[in-house]
């Protein structure tokens, strides 16, 4: 399995976490998994929308101790 990379985007606001994720996605290989950490609920809602629209694979999404974790697999 490809390594999962953590993208720590805590303590900023929408669309900061999305942009950080995209910056990391650009550098990732197809098949890599990225886990974005966000303290902003707007981003927790918006990032899955982006993943669906663009066509990557949503792996997981959960909240733990005030931090949202969204796991995405790069598919293209």
């Amino acid at each position: 399995m490809a390594e999962r990379k953590i993208v720590d985007a805590k303590n900023t606001f929408c669309p900061g976490p999305l942009m950080e994720l995209i910056g990391q996605m650009k550098m990732a290989e197809v098949g890599d998994e990225l886990e974005i950490l966000s303290t902003d609920q707007g981003s927790a809602n918006d990032i899955p929308e982006w993943i669906n629209k663009v066509g990557h694979e949503m792996i997981d999404s959960f909240e733990k101790e005030g931090v949202w974790h969204i796991v995405v697999k790069k598919t293209k």
Binding site: N11, T12, F13, C14, P15, G16, L18, M19, I22, G23, K26, D46, W50, K53, V54
Partner: protein, 130 residues
């Protein structure tokens, strides 16, 4: 299938308006739309390199955004270009009035564009104004 087009005209010099414009441009561009931004009136001066001028807040939201570390609008515009291939054009009239050249503007800003060309571009998709 042709891509969605989003044309964003930015004329305000307020932090809130510039922020919202940058959000629409960046999120639109990274979501697969062809984004064109046209900078004119009070918006353009903030794109002059090393101007170090802060866009004033219109109200509480603008002040809170700075306190709470919202992403900087200039960075979002830059990411719209870098990650989503957005095109950001300075209005050729505003360039003349401010007496600046393209080289004086941030590197992610393209060559000056006239209103006729922007309106032609804007006729084929969503148009937003801030």
């Amino acid at each position: 299938m042709s891509k969605d087009r989003i044309s964003v005209m930015v004329t305000s010099g307020s932090r809130e308006q510039l922020q919202m414009a940058a959000m629409v441009a960046s999120v639109g561009a990274v979501s697969g739309s062809d984004v064109t931004v046209f900078l004119s009136m009070n918006a353009l001066k903030f794109f002059i390199k090393n101007s170090n001028e802060l866009a004033p807040a219109e109200g509480e939201m603008g002040r809170l955004m700075e306190e709470k570390n919202a992403p900087d609008f200039m960075e979002l515009f830059s990411q719209a270009v870098e990650y989503g291939d957005a095109k950001i054009f300075p209005c050729s009239m505003a360039i003349d009035i401010l007496e600046v050249k393209q080289d004086d503007l941030e590197d992610f800003v393209s060559e000056p564009l006239g209103l006729t060309a922007f309106l032609g571009d804007a006729s084929e998709g969503q148009v937003w104004h801030f």
